[in-house]
Symmetry: C2
Subunit: 139 residues, 2 copies
């Protein structure tokens, strides 16, 4: 199956790893711990464009990453969302929110401009996510 | 299993039907076709508080309702999200978005105040969703 990542997703996030055919990406925004899952398949725009198996695997992964993020970042709430009003290629946001963060209690999308992570911070975050994905529990 | 619906969800949406242990509710906002799914179980706050079976059933239902909404309301995009920053009781939004709607292309949450539906409009919408749920395909 062919797959080309949308350029806006490529420019605003970094590939941490693939779990099967799902890309796990770190959004480059230091305001929030923010992951983006992208099934590697062209032409998927809506949740209902996924097969049952793809959908189940996607949300199993989202659930496990959200669980890990809630603990790791002492989050008050995990936000999970597929919007795509600006970037139609299907992608699922998983965001660790804290009371008092930049957009709290509103949604993060469209809330001012991203604050790119410093190199060391980004590398540390990506390594932490990668370690999480390497555990048996998450796979 | 005990279940008490959060008062804010009760005040801002109407129960259309239950599919198994999942409430299908119509958000009372005429700006968007907007459904809310609520698993009838206390203490569920995060996606990872659901069992695998509950999660799979929830997103299967969300996928089918989103598919129906996209066609029925000629939507440009379906937004599916679990936020819960204000109302922690787990609930999943399914919103049919159109280019030019009140919040487009931003997220709908926190965008000005809801515009309650007129009685006839609300009844018509609830009847349409109920008919959709009665078909074999959606169950």
């Amino acid at each position: 199956m062919s797959f080309t990542l949308d350029q806006r997703l490529a420019d605003s996030s970094h590939l941490v790893a693939c779990v099967g055919d799902i890309q796990v990406r770190l959004a480059d925004d230091s305001r929030y711990p923010w992951l983006i899952l992208v099934p590697e398949q062209d032409e998927v725009v809506e949740l209902h464009d996924l097969t049952n198996d793809q959908r189940n695997r996607l949300f199993t992964l989202a659930s496990r990453l959200g669980n890990w993020m809630k603990t790791t970042f002492a989050a008050d709430k995990i936000n999970v969302a597929s919007l795509g009003n600006l970037v139609p290629q299907f992608h699922l946001h998983i965001v660790a929110r804290r009371d008092g963060d930049a957009a709290w209690p509103g949604p993060i999308w469209g809330h001012a401009n991203p604050t790119p992570r410093a190199d060391a911070d980004r590398q540390e975050m990506m390594a932490a996510v990668a370690r999480c994905l390497e555990t048996d529990e998450i796979l």
